[in-house]
């Protein structure tokens, strides 16, 4: 039997890897991929808590799964708009390196 904390450790590790990708990568698309990893770590946590804390079934105890589904929705929206912005920036600046896109910086 794999216990809850093992899943939580896995999720924490995945979240940290994703966070490193977001903080350290230069390419904006790679940063987006890091965000995806972080969202997936969150999903593992949500489902693990649902499985171990409210596992009785029944439609009143579906919080974990419902929230995971909404994370899917948000992830899809985030990727769609994020990539659109990156493509748009690339078209005008010929670059997708995050630190070179600094129009709003001073």
């Amino acid at each position: 039997m794999v216990s809850l904390w093992v899943y939580l450790v896995l999720a924490a590790a995945l979240f940290s890897i994703g966070a490193f990708g977001v903080l350290a990568r230069r390419n904006a698309i790679a940063i987006l991929m890091g965000v995806e990893l972080m969202l997936n770590a969150v999903n593992i946590n949500l489902v693990a808590f649902w499985r171990f804390v409210r596992p009785d079934g029944g439609s009143e105890n579906m919080f974990g799964q419902v929230f995971t589904v909404f994370v899917f929705v948000v992830a899809a929206a985030e990727v769609a708009v994020g990539l659109a912005i990156i493509i748009s920036v690339y078209r005008s600046k010929r670059s997708v390196i995050a630190e070179e896109v600094d129009l709003l910086k001073w």
Binding site: V69, F72, V73, A76, A77, A80, L83, A84, I87
Partner: protein
């Protein structure tokens, strides 16, 4: 736990399934001829020497189709639990589904009217 039985089978299926497509490749590796030369491994683009990088700039149209698909894909994922539970729900659930699909169609309508669906 029937979960193990069900998905254990799928796991076994995945483990065994890829052997069969790989097998002919392995047999082929033993019997096929090996006579490589530069012309043979060159990129096959109408016999003319290939020009530039393979990574030509692609039309943004592909991305737009991909993104409309992504949105519909996620919406369908939300509709499946709805459909599954539908027979045990009341008319309110129909209203919820109707509004959901109407909002979905709204986005499609926008894409249609702004010619985002036209292949250019």
């Amino acid at each position: 736990m029937n979960l193990v039985n069900e998905w254990g089978f799928v796991g076994l299926f995945m483990a065994i399934g890829w052997i069969f497509p790989t097998l002919p490749l392995v047999i082929s590796w033993f019997v096929r001829p090996r006579k490589k030369n530069d012309i043979k491994v060159s990129t096959y683009e109408c016999g003319v020497e290939t020009v530039g990088d393979t990574w030509v700039q692609f039309k943004v149209q592909y991305y737009i189709y991909g993104l409309i698909f992504l949105v519909f894909d996620v919406e369908m994922v939300l509709l499946f639990p709805w459909a599954l539970a539908y027979s045990s729900l009341d008319f309110f659930a129909f209203g919820a589904g109707l509004l959901f699909i109407f909002l979905l169609a709204d986005g499609l309508y926008y894409a249609w009217k702004t010619d985002a669906l036209v292949w250019k």
